[in-house]
């Protein structure tokens, strides 16, 4: 609506400038959101991998303990 009012008043240049600023604000916001989301995805994937490794390690340790107990028996 603002742009039509400005065009009627013969200020087309201002419309271009405002539109440009709006696009720049959009691009900056998009870049911020993209950066944070990519970081979050990487962090969560890393956490998941670490948790899986920990699970595997715990399972191996339990196996070793069970074998030792069998040998003792």
């Amino acid at each position: 609506m603002v742009e039509y009012a400005l065009l009627d008043a013969g200020m087309g240049g201002l419309v271009v400038i405002l539109g440009g600023v709006a696009i720049v604000v959009f691009v900056i916001l998009a870049a911020i959101i993209l950066r944070f989301s990519i970081r979050a995805i990487k962090r969560e994937l890393k956490k998941e991998t670490e948790a899986e490794q920990l699970d595997t390690q715990v399972a191996k340790e339990e196996d070793i303990k069970a074998e030792q107990t069998d040998e003792e028996v």
Partner: protein
């Protein structure tokens, strides 16, 4: 005041609004079907794909304006349909494969269903915002197919 609204509300509403709306639809579907229980991951994946969709919309808008096209709405409809039915579900499914322990077919199907639901919801919201009410869906398809016919 109106100028500030024009500069700030347009980008913030387009980005934050669409991400929130998508999360409202997709989050329960992904979470309840057990694809992943990682809330941060679901939010991050949806934010990532939504920003890509919106950047595409802005590129279409700028391209159409520079080419003095009068079929802006049709082109945005085509891009949205293409992105929502091919690019976004596939990208999201790939990201969910990395973290999910469910079968890949289930992940793909659920992601597709969630995205399709958010797409339909988005059509309703677009219809409401553009004063077309419940006719948002028919408006979308009339723009899409009408554009091809004309």
């Amino acid at each position: 005041m109106y100028i500030l609204l024009y500069i700030l509300v347009f980008p913030i509403a387009l980005l934050a609004g669409t991400i929130l709306l998508t999360l409202m639809v997709e989050f329960p579907i992904i979470y309840c079907t057990g694809i992943t229980r990682n809330k941060k991951y679901i939010v991050a994946v949806n934010a990532l794909t939504n920003v890509c969709l919106n950047v595409g919309i802005i590129i279409v808008l700028l391209f159409d304006m520079s080419a003095k096209q009068l079929k802006l709405e049709r082109d945005i409809c085509i891009w949205t349909l293409f992105a929502e039915l091919t690019l976004i579900p596939v990208a999201e499914a790939v990201l969910y494969f990395m973290i999910s322990k469910k079968s890949s077919i289930k992940v793909l199907l659920v992601t597709y269903a969630a995205n399709f639901a958010s797409f339909i919801f988005g059509l309703f919201v677009t219809g409401l915002l553009t004063n077309r009410g419940i006719y948002g869906i028919s408006w979308f398809f009339s723009k899409l197919f009408g554009g091809f016919i004309w």
